[in-house]
Amino acid sequence: MAKPRDDRAWLLVLPVVALVAFSALIPVMTVVNYSVQDSFGNNEFFWNGTGWFKELLDPSTDLGGRFFDALWRTLLFSALCLLIEIPLGIGVALSMPRQGWGVSASLVVLALPLLIPWNVVGTIWQVFARRDIGLLGAAVNGLGVDYNYAQDPLDAWITVVAMDVWHWTSLVALLCYAGLRSIPDAYYQAARVDGAGAWAVFRAIQLPKMQRVLTIAVLLRFMDSFMIYTEPFVVTGGGPGNATTFLSIDLVKIALGQFDLGKAAAMSIVYNLIVLAVCWVFFATTTRRESEAAR
């Protein structure tokens, strides 16, 4: 039976097209437009072609050197966050109670840090870690450790990483806990009958069953930490010096501090492409591994 054809149906998608255009397409194209121009203020623009990109990707230039420094810092930060948060989150999930009132109590406690807005987390830690009035900072200094995140780069790094771990380990733990809860009791009983110790149970049952949620957890935590801005900005402002200036902080400095719209636009496009590329590689490898496993 032939269905009546009416091309006016296309009009129904217009609202979405308009919405996407205003929320995504036009802003992105504006940035693309900026990235190939130079501006000397006064709303005057001059064509610069791929100039900014060449400069950005060449570490010997000012802009390039700055970009790569920030990129390595950001990657190091993401790596540290993942290395600490994933094992710690698994550990927390494994030690959570499996029944009784403790379940809801620990879920609430774990959810608390996730509910706090980024800049509030930043403020909490900015105060918490201060050497003069902060509970943590003053206590550590009282123990005779010279700790000052505003002056020492290592202390600044320890502070921002500790803050991220404090804020986001819960997410990993909650995801892992959900994965653990989906394991039927028969698996644990069978493992006991098979004489498996705690480590064998973890390797043979718990870790494989958590694999899917762990994939999500790693992806989420990588993306979030790679794009982090607010928290370190509030605590260290990117300092001391440039020690904690991550890509996003540097980007804002260039765009809004120096008002170099062309450089900032080129940088944000490359930044965006890195995020997309990492996402794609991650997605492709996990799906390939799953389809291989299914064979």
Partner: protein, 353 residues
């Protein structure tokens, strides 16, 4: 390999009213094949988990060869257990799955390998040893679970908790006969939980029939069929189950519904409570003459035999319609007097010859 004994064993789940398993004393022989048979919720899995140590009984003791193991963990009891739903370790191959219980106990690699291959051969898994376990079908996953139960040569007992539930019907026969065969080769106590009487009767030397947390009879398949000690056993075993008729017993005679009298093989004292006469359909035949007058309701053709549904004085009964016999116009029911049993309040009443 062990004799398994229970002393005043009982279990009540915390917070639940009453016993899930009522107090009992039993002794099971070394290297026997036992089946725990009963409907869902009768306590058979509870009993199994108590034997394996996954559950600690709230009362009484479990003995292996006379040694109290009630407080020992599953690992220390040296039993193997196969569960209702297949448990396989996803990331491992079939071979690694089968070797897992051996590896955890530090069995040398060469010995483990030989043992794994032997068990895989018994279960028809040899071809698949190097496949990943997660990609196999439910049948084969359950074979792996069975294999992990069988792979240890030194266990005191192997426990099966309705292991064939997820298996295709045509494979059930095959796997059950393989288990039987294995039991003949290796003298180990096997305990098999099921709600399927065919499985229980074909697998076990001794069937333990349970109902509502109570062991109502332990016996050979023949004993359960010929001399049920409880109306539950009569009804649950056999297809269709035993006929039970309310009656009054006067010495060597029973007065059936409709006032019919039948002679009994034994004399009974005065019985209290609910008195019933039990006769299996196999021993009640429809006939043209003799016996008692009945009304025929319908005939069910089961292929190799025919079952007549009749009514005697208003009570329904199942009887056998002998082969080749046309349905009589005025059917009579002939009961084999030697096969009549009298039950008082559900339990077999002892008569005297």
């Amino acid at each position: 390999m062990a004799r398994i004994g229970f002393e005043r064993l009982a279990h009540a789940y915390p917070g639940a009213a009453g016993y899930a398993l009522k107090p009992m004393d039993m002794d099971w022989d070394h290297a026997g094949a036992y089946a725990l048979l009963g409907p869902s919720g009768c306590g058979k899995t509870t009993l199994l988990n108590i034997i394996s140590g996954l559950l600690r009984p709230s009362e009484g003791r479990v003995l292996f060869d006379g040694r109290d193991v009630s407080s020992l963990t599953t690992e220390r009891r040296n039993v193997a257990q196969v569960f209702q739903f297949p448990v396989v370790y996803d990331t491992m191959t079939v071979r690694e799955n089968l070797a897992f219980p051996l590896r955890n106990r530090g069995v040398p690699a060469a010995a483990a390998r030989a043992r794994v291959e032997h068990v895989a051969g018994l279960l028809g898994l040899s071809e698949r040893l190097d496949r990943r376990a997660r990609n196999l079908g439910a049948d084969e996953k359950q074979k792996i679970s069975l294999g992990r139960g069988l792979v240890r040569g030194d266990v005191a007992a192997i426990l099966f908790d309705e292991p064939l539930t997820v298996i295709d019907p045509h494979l059930k026969w095959e796997l059950r006969s393989r288990l039987k065969e294995l039991h003949r080769q290796v003298p180990v106590t096997m305990i098999y939980v099921t709600h399927d009487q065919t499985e229980a009767l074909t697998f076990a030397d001794r069937v333990v029939v349970m109902s509502e947390g109570e062991v109502v009879q332990v016996g050979t398949p023949e004993a359960l069929f010929e001399r049920p000690e409880h109306t539950f056993v009569g009804h649950f075993i056999g297809s269709p189950g035993m006929n039970l008729l309310r009656c009054a017993v006067e010495g060597r005679e029973a007065v059936l519904p409709g006032g019919h009298r039948v002679g009994l093989p034994r004399a009974y004292p005065a019985l209290a409570g609910r008195v019933e006469l039990g006769i299996r359909p196999e021993f009640a035949a429809v006939s043209r003459e003799g016996g008692l007058p009945v009304t025929l309701r319908r005939v069910e053709d089961l292929g190799r035999r025919r079952i007549a549904r009749v009514e005697l004085g208003g009570s329904p009964l199942a009887a056998t319609l002998p082969e080749g016999m046309p349905v009589p116009a005025e059917p009579r029911l002939v009961l084999d007097p030697a096969r009549l049993h009298i039950y008082a309040d559900g339990r077999l009443a002892a008569g005297s010859a």
